[in-house]
């Protein structure tokens, strides 16, 4: 790991060294935070809890530093490229974790740190999500640009956390999913609360995107693949609420399955161009998309 970091730093050089150093630092600190918080979940010692949260907070500061540096370097709010999107989503995990714990009584800090690692990893190491900043084309110069993407990013991390909770429910099943960890709600309730946290934000992101599209292109809806997948994601999560109304809490595994399906659609929306490249490569077909700039 250290060798890779050294190689990356020496290889990048130039004005971006600071950017990458902060990013790798954030990644490493999140890995450490995950390890310590995991140990805390098993051992339950006050000191370990304290160290774990301290590491998590420091990791957040490093990720924030990297994001701010990026924003200054690019000259605009850093939510344009995939690199920036992953960086910001990784940064959001700590505040989400705190809000969930203090406000919603939903735990899972160790898994949040792990999720941050998974989100920061593509920014740090996947070559095609280039860290080179880009200029904003005319269509992106809108006051709705930041609200649209930022709302989506917050919704995505909240719903990703919901999906992590739903995997727990899937594994534990109906009986054990209602077990509550100390001071927190049970897993099924945690999943539901996170869904309720994320779904309005997801809808707001979708609506802001539609309003923006209407201001730029004249149509709320362009039938673009990224739009269709974001609609599929929204419909799947709407299905969750209707299913929960119908089934109540009697069939937590079915509900959890819907949330996981929603996560798959969400990932496909986020990584659309990668998914399409894969499909094109596998089946030799071609697509077109407006959202290519987000690449």
């Amino acid at each position: 790991m250290i060798a890779v970091l050294q190689w990356k730093l020496s290889w990048d050089g130039g004005p971006d060294t600071m950017q990458m150093a902060l990013l790798y630092g954030a990644l490493l600190l999140h890995v450490l935070a995950f390890a310590v918080l995991l140990a805390d979940a098993l051992l339950r010692r006050a000191l370990i809890t304290w160290i774990g949260w301290l590491l998590f907070a420091t990791a957040f500061l490093a990720a924030t530093g990297s994001t701010v540096y990026r924003g200054v370097h690019a000259g605009h709010f850093p939510l344009q490229t995939m690199f920036e999107v992953f960086l910001v989503m990784g940064m959001l995990m700590f505040p989400l974790s705190v809000v969930c714990r203090k406000g919603l009584r939903v735990g899972g800090a160790a898994l949040d740190a792990l999720l941050a690692v998974l989100l920061l990893f593509p920014a740090a190491f996947v070559e095609r999500f280039s860290p080179e900043p880009k200029l904003l084309p005319p269509a992106l110069q809108s006051p709705l640009f930041i609200p649209h993407v930022a709302t989506y990013m917050i919704a995505y991390v909240a719903l990703a956390k919901a999906a992590v909770a739903s995997v727990t429910v899937l594994i534990l099943g109906a009986d054990r999913a209602s077990d509550a960890p100390r001071g927190l709600v049970d897993h099924e309730t945690a999943m539901d609360r996170l869904m309720r946290l994320g779904f309005p934000l997801l809808t707001a992101g979708l609506v802001l995107g539609a309003v923006w599209a209407q201001r730029v292109y004249g149509d709320f809806w362009s039938w673009d693949p990224k739009e269709m997948l974001s609609l599929a994601t929204w419909l799947a999560f709407a299905l969750y609420f209707h299913a929960r109304y119908t089934l109540g809490q009697r069939r937590p595994r079915i509900l959890a399955g819907i949330v996981v399906a929603g996560l798959v659609l969400m990932l496909a929306t986020l990584l659309l161009s990668q998914v399409r490249d894969l499909l094109s490569w596998l089946f030799d077909i071609t697509f077109e998309s407006y959202h290519t700039y987000s690449g």
Partner: protein, 515 residues
């Protein structure tokens, strides 16, 4: 009633699942013929069976709001469903199909959307749509596809007002100060795939030299000077020598003393210079009227008066054409070029100017100025102009110099005026994110090609838009208040929408948090 509700609820679950699956399918429809994924998705989702599905959706939303006390008596849950219903209904009202149905019954027609094609000389009130044939050829424009106007566009109706284009231009991001991303290239046989040869150098910091040595007689281009930031507000002559350069206004009467004691005086400015021949067959130059679709070639005619009062006529052109037509080289030392401020680059630093020295075999070196023009296409200069001799380039096809840079449009602007007869209805400086709402339509500027003085303005009918906006507002209020309300209570009594279908009055209970 309970039984019917059960059926409606199951229908809702089935409908949501079906729509999810159809959305995923629509996102991955492979392009087929002229139709790309999005167009195939649109056809699928607006096909007659889907119109049925939309009506069922509207029906279920209505039934949901009326038949479930749990929805009806909770304002926020009601708002979620009402908002969704309004958005869907508004979209249906705004659709092409709804306009087609309405237009069958009303006169005059109100087309749902289309394009108004404008040039500064030709106002228009006609709405066009690209023909299937034009869509199939990828909308490359008439110049690229060789199609006639009638083959490219169908007229679908008229606007209640006429649209006048006052002005249209593109603003670009300034080039990077360190000139990174700039490339100068030499190309031989550009049109011939087999024999094409290409050499390219970055234009950064140092002055590069390029040699095309795959030819029988190699061509060499040496960059001798680079000006990277010239600010202009009026036509200006640049006189550059080895020690730098002098700028003076290209205004009739302006005089510029030179270092060798001679003087340069501007005698005439040409908006669009064209060569011609007089009665004796001598080459003359004249100011010709602009031709639509062709760029003007501005030039400045100067007199060089040396210390012996000898006169010599000198014509300076824009970069790239400098050595073309006549003998513009003043002497070995000076090479004048005419720089004109470009509207496309308002508020941005102008692009770099490069002085090159070209040689081939025993010809040259010939000096020339070279600058990329605005636009995303690289500027190309055919070397035949620079050499001014046929011998130099015959075995290299028509060798070209190209300058490439990643020039990004920062803003498109089109100033339009809407008129009803003689009366001005509205006027606005349109930008990409700033449309104009007037006369029952919204006017959008999507993009622009600043090489062609034409703007295709997208117009979209306003019918149903306010319904959609209202629906979005109601939906969001319902969701945020309904789902977030009670979520932040630390302990007991947070509210899930409902826990079971059996109780029409669901309790607001959630399991107590166990400490």
């Amino acid at each position: 009633m309970t039984y019917l509700r059960k059926i409606a609820m199951h229908l809702t679950i089935v409908l949501l699942t079906t729509l999810t699956v159809l959305s995923v399918l629509a996102a991955f429809l492979p392009a087929e013929g002229a139709l790309d994924t999005a167009e195939r998705a649109q056809r699928l989702w607006t096909s007659p069976p889907m119109i049925g599905v939309w009506c069922v959706t509207l029906g279920l939303l209505t039934v949901g709001m009326l038949a479930w006390p749990g929805v009806r008596r909770r304002p926020m849950v009601l708002a979620m469903h009402l908002g969704t219903l309004l958005v869907l209904a508004g979209m249906m009202l705004n659709s092409d199909k709804a306009h087609d149905w309405w237009n069958a019954a009303r006169d005059p027609d109100k087309p749902a959307n289309g394009y108004v094609l404008l040039t500064p000389e030709h106002p228009s009130d006609e709405i066009f749509r690209p023909t299937a044939q034009a869509a199939a050829s990828g909308m490359g424009g008439m110049a690229n596809t060789g199609m006639t106007f009638e083959e490219m566009y169908d007229s679908v109706g008229t606007l209640p007002v006429s649209v006048h284009l006052r002005d249209a231009y593109t603003k670009y991001y300034p080039p990077k100060p360190d000139r990174s991303g700039w490339m100068v290239s030499l190309v031989a046989h550009p049109a011939d795939r087999e024999n094409a040869a290409f050499v390219s150098e970055p234009l950064q910091r140092e002055t590069p030299q390029l040699t095309l040595d795959s030819l029988d007689t190699p061509i060499t281009a040496r960059v001798t000077q680079v000006y990277s930031s010239l600010w202009l507000d009026a036509p200006t002559v640049l006189l550059a020598d080895d020690e730098g350069g002098t700028l003076f206004p290209a205004k009739v009467g302006a005089e510029q003393p030179l270092k060798d004691g001679s003087t340069l005086r501007v005698v005439k400015y040409y908006q669009n210079i064209r060569p011609g021949r007089d009665a004796d067959g001598e080459i003359t130059i004249q100011d010709a009227p602009s031709v639509a679709g062709q760029p003007n070639v501005p030039a400045v005619e100067m007199l060089l008066l040396d210390e012996h009062e000898h006169e010599r006529r000198v014509v300076a052109f824009r970069p790239g054409l400098t050595t073309h037509m006549g003998r513009p080289l003043l002497n070995d030392r000076y090479l004048p070029v005419l720089l004109t401020p470009s509207k496309a680059r308002t508020n941005t630093a102008p692009s770099p100017m490069v002085q090159l020295e070209l040689s081939r075999g025993d010809i040259g070196p010939v000096r020339g100025w070279f600058s990329p023009s605005a636009g995303e296409q690289p500027d190309r200069v055919r070397l035949q102009f620079l050499f001014d001799s046929e011998k130099a380039w015959t075995d290299a096809g028509e060798p070209m110099l190209m300058m490439q840079w990643q020039q990004m449009p920062q803003e498109y602007v089109a100033e339009i005026v809407l008129r009803d007869g003689e009366q001005t209805v509205a006027s606005k400086s349109l930008r990409v994110n700033d449309p104009l709402h007037a006369a029952g339509y919204t006017f959008y500027l999507n993009s622009m090609d600043d090489r062609v003085p034409q703007v295709n303005l997208h117009v979209q009918s306003d019918t149903g838009i306010s319904v959609i906006h209202a629906g979005m507002g109601v939906l969001l209020v319902g969701l945020f208040v309904g789902l977030w309300g009670g979520l932040w209570k630390r302990r007991a009594a947070a509210v899930p929408p409902s826990t079971s279908e059996r109780d029409d009055e669901p309790t607001d209970a959630e399991p107590e948090v166990r400490e």
